[in-house]
Amino acid sequence: MINFDYIRPSTQKAAIDALNKDATSQLIAGGTNLVDLMKRGVTTPQKLIDINNLPLRTIEEGKGIIRIGALALNSEVAENELIVKKIPLLSLALKAGASPQIRNMATVGGNMMQRTRCPYFYDTVMPCNKRQPGSGCGALKGYNRMHAIFGGTETCIAVHPSDMCIALAALDATVVVSSPKGSRRIPFNEFHRLPGSAPQKDNTLQRGELITAVEVPDNAAFVKNVLYNKIRDRASYAFALVSVAAALDLKENIIQNARLAMGGVAHKPWRLTSAENFLKGKTASIAIFQQAANMSMKDAKSYGYNKFKLTLAPNTIVETLKTITGLS
């Protein structure tokens, strides 16, 4: 690593000013992804702006929402009374990620900003359009077992590795972002991007903007019947092959409303909107679940080593819905 500069401002303004003043600078919060990337030489900021002194850690109730400060630790959010009670799906997803030690360091904002785990992205000797636009995509005809089946392009088939984000996407969270120009709100499903022809941009955050909070609707409908189902190669401390975040608003056996999102399958959390619409008003049954799963696979594409995801993904959707509704 180069010996970068390091500052620790105590106000948001100072942090953003520093970020804007120096194009080679980056913000650091938990550092669990950034320090790793710096060690691998993937990213080489010449200045780190430590934002841990900013007052962005609170978790509180707002009007119809739960507001989670961007610096709240993954472990704190996962065990927070309010979260467990009101947005249990988020708690479940957080607990499925990484390891207890990493969850004690990682922040909500950082979890959203984390980069892909694609080995061709990580290895600076390999071609990667995300890390080095124009250099090619090593995964496309390479070892792509962990890669996207939705929304990929010949330019990039990377997957966003977060578990937390899948739950936030399913729950229609909102990202609150602040900059010298003021603040804006980004619907969670619009925060992360598809690669398109500019895979180097993971999300729609502009340079000089700071994530200050995530707001999640306080919706009693999605408290009782929830599950985060993560399928991985070992029982813990591994990224998802596929994952499903599901919340059903059930009255007796009839689905009033559904929220479904998948991880491990795309450059961004993959919301299963057509399945959600299909399930609305239907009586829960395995056949219905299978239909919902099949229609979710409409645009799925295999790149070789990840062909199994075309089976694993719908199977996991079905299994998740079965488990939630007690039909297994």
């Binding site: 080995p119 000797v125 390479g142």
Partner: protein
């Protein structure tokens, strides 16, 4: 005089003697010694797979803050050992090991091509990224599937076909199985990163803190590399953080550390990073196997044909006994085996826990299971029907074999007979339940070693040998042996190891340490006892006609006392024997080795693994619900550490069966998953409680302590047990490891 060692009951609650050091963090590993003026070395790895280095531009690196030197083939001092043609880091079989910085040839991606030395780790690491290497690339080959078609296999005696009876008898057998099995590259990945800290005391004297499983062999390698005498090379390995075979030989990075330290005149610490743990310290090679087994309808094997293809590097030959188990495990009149190895542009593989047999047993034990289903005979019964009462390959009697007992113990424990043998017939909720078993075997032997035993005036006993312990618990086991043989309580015994100036001990590998060193400790203890007897006979207080005329075997040693067996009131405290003789200590050093008698026997350790799996049919996820492993390792010397050793092998087996796979992108010849996040080893949540049983009957022939080895068989046979259980659960036969979810849902 000799205790009847085979009757000794060893305490099963003796804690590991080095436990306190390990749980307090005071145990020091190779990279943890504080030395004055210490420098840090970081290796620069090649980014091409095959070719040659055309230029190395180290100007920016050398100019970087704190950098003291950059060494490469351009400026490396000549290594005396290289000149002689003899390779100091000699490969295990043939060819020359990688002669670091000797020339500009690149043999594999990740080959060390330069060493940067600086005054801090951060500076060395950063400067390494500033070294600019340019290459002339050549076409590489890292794909075994291509090499086996395009390139000739390596020739030599090691690859001669084996034949007993007739070849390929299985093809015409009444019942037969023919199948292919594959294992990927598997990587040891001990927790401790390989490291060497070296410093020279003058031109020709060097001290090395080394991560090694063989203190004396590391010393020899360094002696040969730099043409130094034994007394001028000091190797210390007091604590070693796991090896599993990766530290059985001295690797080029250790030589590089010595080179670097010599060049700067300052101590140098060189630690490999986790990526280099895949490219620089060996791995279990990828292997393709074909097995054909023929039998009569009542399950008598008529023929086994076993063929294996694997790989080595292009500069060195590595071989292992993949197909050997098929020759000696079961009674079968006709056996033919073939083993071929192809050179690839990957670094040289090395022995990894259960080398050869771990790979071969996956094929043989899976194939037998397949045969059992075709025959409709229970898999254990099938093995018993083909039980070898004598070694079928060498036609020798066994020094001991309690495999039948092991089958029974394990089957009873897991409830084997209460399972429904029909595949896909058992469920727990939505999950399919499967039971499977597999056998492991590994050669048991006894090598040569020396041990020192010194009784001090205060009654404490010191035992010393130049052996290293990478985890099995050698010091604890040796303490048990010494205590049983001398009658001195364990808390009065210290076992010292890890220092090349101690009497030469064995390399800790091949499951031979307890047998070899235990015998040496035993012999040293008996020799010490003899000296004490002689002193006791001269002792004024102890002296009587009765004592004076007694023979050595008339005495017993208990609780730090020497007693006359026939008259136990005649006893003396050992410390008093020394005092009476006016001595502050009594010391012996014994060399111990197996007798010629041993050559008349075949000796093996055996294991039987029983596994219960739960398989999710929708997602393909396999979890081990229960593991029962039984071992015939002769007499168990240190029950606590022996059980841990077995558990450790089983955990390794879980990794081998379900998740471990080294991946190289053959387009570039470069590793893709060489890190702990992408190469999966088992974590806590993967492992259920593991039940270990030992037959614990002594081998009366192999050595005076009756012990065989555990380290390899603890893993060998586990992967096929899992594959067999998965078949029983699902009706799907997976013949390619690891058994990941994708393989079960396609």
């Amino acid at each position: 005089m000799e205790n009847n060692f085979f009757d000794v009951g060893f305490a099963d609650d003796l804690d590991r003697v080095d436990g306190k050091a390990k749980v307090t963090g005071t145990a020091k590993y190779a990279a943890e010694y504080e030395l004055p003026n210490l420098t840090y070395g970081v290796l620069v790895d090649s980014t091409i797979t095959k070719g040659s280095i055309t230029t190395i531009n180290s100007k920016a690196a050398e100019a970087a803050p704190g950098v003291i030197a950059v060494i490469s083939h351009l400026n490396s001092p000549k290594i005396p050992g290289y000149d002689a043609g003899a390779n100091p880091v000699k490969g295990p079989t043939g060819g020359k090991g990688l002669q670091i910085f000797n020339d500009n040839i690149v043999h594999f991606n990740g080959q060390p091509v330069a060493l940067v030395i600086a005054d801090t780790f951060e500076r060395a690491l950063h400067a390494a990224s500033l070294v600019k290497v340019q290459y002339k690339k050549e076409t590489h080959e890292t794909d075994l599937d291509e090499a086996k078609i395009n390139v000739p296999a390596i020739e030599g005696q090691r690859y001669n076909d084996y034949l007993r009876g007739e070849a390929n008898v299985y093809k015409n057998a009444p019942v037969k199985i023919e199948a292919e099995y594959t294992i990927p590259i598997e990587v040891h990945n001990p927790m401790e990163l390989h490291a060497t800290t070296a410093f020279w005391r003058g031109e020709d004297k060097v001290t090395v803190y080394e991560k090694t499983q063989g203190v004396k062999s590391a010393q020899r390698s360094i002696m040969q590399a730099f043409k130094l005498t034994e007394e001028n090379v000091q190797v210390n390995a007091k604590f070693v953080g796991g090896g599993f075979g990766s530290a059985l030989r001295t690797w080029p990075h250790a030589i590089a550390a010595c080179i670097g330290a010599k060049k700067t005149g300052r101590p140098l610490k060189l630690v490999l990073n986790r990526q280099q743990m895949f490219t620089m310290v060996g791995f279990r090679p990828h292997a393709l196997q074909k097995i054909g087994i023929g039998a009569t309808p009542d399950g008598k094997l008529t023929g086994i044909s076993h063929e294996a293809i694997s790989h080595t590097s292009q500069y060195e030959e590595f071989t292992e006994g993949i197909v050997n188990m098929s020759r000696f495990m079961y009674a079968c009149p006709n056996v033919n085996t073939r083993y071929k190895v192809y050179p690839l542009n990957i670094s040289t593989p090395t022995w990894m826990r259960g080398p050869g047999e771990a790979t071969g047993s996956f094929a043989l034990e899976s194939a037998l299971d397949e045969l059992a289903y075709v025959l409709k005979i229970d898999p254990i019964e099938l093995r018993i029907r083909n039980y070898a009462e004598t070694d079928p390959q060498r036609n020798l009697p066994y020094s001991s074999k309690f495999l039948k007992e092991a089958y029974q113990l394990g089957a009873d424990k897991i409830g084997w007979s209460s399972r429904n043998p029909t595949p896909r017939s058992m469920k727990e909720g939505d999950l399919f339940v499967g039971y499977g078993m597999g056998s492991g075997v590994f050669n048991a032997s006894r090598g040569t070693a020396r041990a020192l035993a010194r009784l001090n005036a205060d009654g404490t006993l010191l035992i010393q040998s130049a052996v290293a312990d990478s985890g099995p618990g050698t010091a604890t086991a040796m303490t048990q042996v010494a205590s049983a043989a001398t009658g001195i309580p364990v808390n009065k015994i210290t076992f010292e190891l890890g220092d090349s100036s101690y009497p030469p001990g064995p390399t800790q590998g091949g499951s031979t340490t307890t047998s070899t060193l235990g015998s040496a400790v035993y012999d040293a203890s008996i020799a010490l006892n003899k000296k004490i007897i002689d002193l006791a006979k001269e002792n004024v207080v102890f002296h009587t006609t009765e004592i004076h005329t007694a023979k050595p075997e008339d005495f017993v040693f208990e609780n730090s006392n020497i007693l006359l067996a026939a008259n136990r009131s005649k006893k003396m405290f050992l410390a008093d024997v020394l005092k009476g003789a006016g001595l502050t200590q009594v010391e012996v050093t014994e060399e111990s080795k197996g007798s010629e008698e041993l050559k008349k026997y075949a000796s093996y350790s055996y294991s039987v693994h029983f596994v219960k799996v739960l398989v999710n049919p929708a997602t393909g996820v396999v979890r081990i619900a229960r593991a029962v492993s039984v071992c015939d390792a002769g007499k168990i010397i240190s029950p606590k550490t022996a059980e841990s050793q077995m558990i450790g092998g089983v955990v390794g087996g879980i990794g081998m069966a379900l998740m471990e796979e080294g991946v190289i992108d053959h387009r570039y010849g470069r590793w893709v998953n060489n890190n702990f996040a992408d190469y999966h080893v088992p974590v806590q949540a993967d492992v259920p409680p593991i039940e270990i049983l030992f037959v614990n009957k002594p081998d009366l022939i192999i050595n005076p302590i009756g012990a065989k080895g555990i380290g390899e068989v603890s893993l060998i046979g586990f992967a096929p047990a899992v594959a067999n259980a998965v078949y029983h659960a699902t009706g799907k036969r997976i013949r390619e490891l690891p058994i990941t979810p994708d393989k079960l849902i396609s």
